[in-house]
Each structure stands twice: as C-alpha cells, then as structure tokens.
Symmetry: C2
Subunit: 334 residues, 2 copies
Amino acid sequence: MEDKVLLAHGSGGRLSHELIEKHCMPYLGNTILNRMDDSAALELNGRIAFTTDSYVIKPLFFPGGDIGRLSVCGTVNDLATSGAMARYLSLSLIIEEGFSVFDLERIMSSVSETAKEAGVLVITGDTKVVDHGSADGLFINTSGIGIIPEGIDISGGNAKEGDRVIVTGTIGDHGIAVMAQREGLKFSIPVESDCAPLNRLVSEILDVSSDVRCMRDPTRGGLATTLNELAAQSGVGIQIYEDKIPVKDAVRGMCEILGFDPLYIANEGKMIIIAAPEETDRIIACLHRNKYGKDAAVIGEVTSQHKGRVALRTRLGSSRIVDMLTGDLLPRIC
Amino acid sequence: MEDKVLLAHGSGGRLSHELIEKHCMPYLGNTILNRMDDSAALELNGRIAFTTDSYVIKPLFFPGGDIGRLSVCGTVNDLATSGAMARYLSLSLIIEEGFSVFDLERIMSSVSETAKEAGVLVITGDTKVVDHGSADGLFINTSGIGIIPEGIDISGGNAKEGDRVIVTGTIGDHGIAVMAQREGLKFSIPVESDCAPLNRLVSEILDVSSDVRCMRDPTRGGLATTLNELAAQSGVGIQIYEDKIPVKDAVRGMCEILGFDPLYIANEGKMIIIAAPEETDRIIACLHRNKYGKDAAVIGEVTSQHKGRVALRTRLGSSRIVDMLTGDLLPRIC
C-alpha cells in the first residue's frame, strides 16, 4: 500500500507530515516553506495582485504538460493579466484515496520545474485526502501574489476606440491536445498543449510599451469568450479578422472534423493584449523575440460600433457577431 | 434543471458568468471583486502572512456551521497563528454537477456573514464544475492575506523553557459535532461546532501582551498533534495536565462511548497560545472577556525535558507521552 495515498494521509497527523515531507518537500522546499508554519510571513511593499484558480483537468497528464505545470502557469498568467510579476504561490491538493504516490511526485516535480521557469516560490500549502470515489484523482488549487510595477494600470475595463488587439500566438492548442489525449485521437502532426508561464514575456512587453490597456489569457471559453468579456467590461466593440488569427493546421483540421470553432477552444499559454495603435509594432517585435510569442499577430481593433460585442470578418469577407461560449464544449479542460 | 449546477456552468462562458453573477456576487460583491478582473489589485505595505486551505468537510452543513463558515474561519485562523490580521480572501469552488443552487446560495450567504464578522473581503475567485461522481458535492479553497502588525514575531519555532501553554476554550467540539451529524447520533445536550473566526480575539491578545511566542489552531489531529508540532518545531518538551484541559461533558461522554480521545479531535475555533509566564494572567483575563475565549485555561508549560515530545499528567497522577495522531480518526473533518 506504500505507493498509494491513504485516507489517513489527510488526517493532519503523522502520516500527513510524512506525505508532505517525503513526497512534496523534496521538490518544493525553500526557506519560507521550510518553516512549516500555518501561514507564510513575508515582506511586501506597493501594489500587488492576488488571484486563485482550482485545476480539475482530465486527464492529469497530457501532451505538453500536466496538472502540475498547468496549476503554476494558470495562476502566474492570471497575475500577468494585471501586469503583475508573480512571486509567491500557495499550493493546495485534494487527493483521492488510492492515488499513486509516484504520480504525485511526478506532478510535484513538474510544479517545481515550472515554478523555477516562472521565477516563483511555493510558500504555503495544504493537503486533503478524500475517500475513494469522492474526487477524481487529484485537484489542485494555486493562489498567487504578484507585484505590479509602478505606473502600470492594466484592467479589462481600459480598452479604447482605435486600440489594437494582439494575440501572442496560435489558438486552440491546449484544448485540442487535451481532448485528443482524452479521446485517444491521433494526429499526423502531434498537437501539444501551449501551457506556459507568460510572466517574463509580459514583463518584456511592459519594458517596451507604456500604453498596454488590457491583457487577459484566453483560457476556458477561448479567444471569443475572453474578447467578449473585454468588450463588455470596457463598453466597446471589438472587430477581429479570421485570416489574421493564428491557428495551427492540425488544430484547424481537428476542429473541422469535430465541428468545433477554434475561437472557443481553451489556451493555457497565450495572452490577448489590447494596446494603443502606435505601440503595436514595438509590442509585436518584442513578442517575436520570445519563444512564447513567436507567432504573435495583430488580429483586430477596438471600435465604437456594436458596443459590448465582438464581430468577426470571415475569410470570405462576410461579417458575424461572435458571442461568448454558450453551453460547454470541453468540460474539465483546466 | 434551473435549480441544479450544470457541467456547462463551469465552461468559462455565458453560464459560468450567470452562475457567478446571480448566485455568488449578491452575497460577496465588493468594490475590488466587482471589477471582475482575473486578478485583484490592491495596495499592501509591510509584513504580510499568506496561507491556503481546501475544505472537503462532510456533511456540508453541520450543527454550528457549514462549509462556507468553515472555509472563512479556517483561513482567517491560519493567518492569525502568525499574529496577522486577515484582510483579503480568495474563494475557489469545485462543484459537482447536479449540486443544488439553493445550497450553493446558503453557503455563499454563510461565507458572506462570516467574512463580515471577521472583517475580511473576498476579492478574487474561481468556479469549476466537474461531472457527477467526480467530486462530492462541493469543495472550497480559500487562500488569505493578512497584515502582521509591526514588532510581532510569532512562529511555531519560538517556544522557550518555562513558557506557559494556553488553550482558548473547550476542545473537541467541532469533531464531535460533525461526527454526530454524519452518523445520526443524538446528544441529550446538543454539541455544536466551535467554528469561529479568531482574528479579533488574537488582536486583543496582542494588544495586551508583547511576549506571545507561538500560536496555532488545533484543527485536524487535535490538541495533541498541534502540541507535538510546536514541540518539534521549537525543539522543546511540552508538559500538559489532563485536569486543566477544558472539555465539555457531552464531548467527553461521547468520546468515552466511542473510544476517542478528545486530545485528538479537531477544533475550528480554538487557538493554542504559548507565552512567557509573566504574560499569562493578562492573556487569560483578556481571553475571558471575548465570547470565543470565555473557557480559556492554562493547560501546561514548556520544559527542557523530553525534547520534541508532549507529556500528559493524567487525572490519576500518572504520566504518559502523547504522540501525534497516527492513522485517521475522522476523515473529512474540515
């Protein structure tokens, strides 16, 4: 039974301590976490950003990532949306009784590697174990604290008429990779999740441009839903052009076969950036220098027409309103 | 189907927005949360504490509280252990498909009331929905940020020989109340969970005493496990006296019948305080003035003997080592 998580590992007693010390701390330990206090103490000064996300993705391992990498990237990227540099994460596990300790370690190792890449520390945590059948393997919550550099004011409510809409790369990779893994579908060219921490990329953009209005990562609900959120929050219209939106051939092909629209497929390593038009060239040049931004493109602009809505000019020249996702395309995609 | 949470409520699209706007925001809304950005921006200066906990308690409603009240109190109290005044919480829900929207609202209402009592704001959140059978109703994660007042240095590693050990009230109430509800047991005198936010009580103590060394809330694993943690972390021995430990008659009776030891039963509204001996009277007097501290008592002291261990002098005058909880007494107690 040593290689399975037991209900008693969630008791808060000796076995809980063992689970954490033997299987988590070797990957996550740092001077703050090692104190093992119920809360972590640290010094902070200035404007900070605070965010939370629970991750329930199925399956836990997928091409291009796993729930560990995802749970670091998702929260780092949510912080990046307000221009904040992620610094500290909490990590809370809900584990189903019987879960493989080997898989737990693989996931902790992935959390550790991704946290290193993003330059963040896991400084506080929690572990709960529920009885077999009361959860599906493993759920992870990460919450994060980031520092907002001085002078930065980025919010979904800041878009203005004439601003340009940029996406930092191809859309739909994460959703299609996860779905293919889940359904056992094979591609001739394999599609991998784009799951990546974007805080360094965002930092580079903020270094070259002082007029970024909004940033948001198009995760659940995809590009279409996120653009709708931004249009509603800013009280503006958004016009996008189908032929400018980067989509991998394999993703487009899979979408056509399955009747999906890539505009609604989840991404985990992309950012939508809305910025003043005169900033566009500089931002795009900056993005193209970063491996996570090499396919970045301007895909549209902010207009005073159709306020609160997103319009798409199709390849064929026709125009249609692109609504938020209604219903659910791919449950448990993150 | 309107009164049940659907899988599509977790899609990130229109239904997710509706679920949050109709059933959560009326209870939780505040100027920061209302911005609905992916991360909340705020100003912080000085030393802060950061903590996280996931709540998987079963059943969701129990005498004296529910998962909503618990998920605020647990995190507020974890912050209080480092002397921090909780300010901001995140709230992340993992909901099983089919969960009652009415129950969700009851729980959000309870989160709201408890947050008001504790003086904290929920400023960022997340909602995921998993398919029926992949979770057990509702799991909640709250993470919290608190402000550590200047000059405060409280850690589990600070206990010194000669310090006194205080508990702020009767032990075992939460665990016994939840177990009784779960198993359908009836008491002649009903036992309620002690689930309560202790940040104001801790603040009052820090106002009257400058020499509090350690605080920790004896949740999972109970008083015995928490004292063991403190003994190990500080490298000291802890001596406690059975006749000084406050236990309600009903809790003691139920423990005797079921063969439980109240020392290992979870609490959700109690704090262990270790302080310099000359501070004891002032702290106890202060505790007795607060409704959450009225049964507070000095239950023992820190010694240089049996380092890293906890010894109990029984009512009969014999002595025994009290270990951490081994195995699991009551799974899913928080």
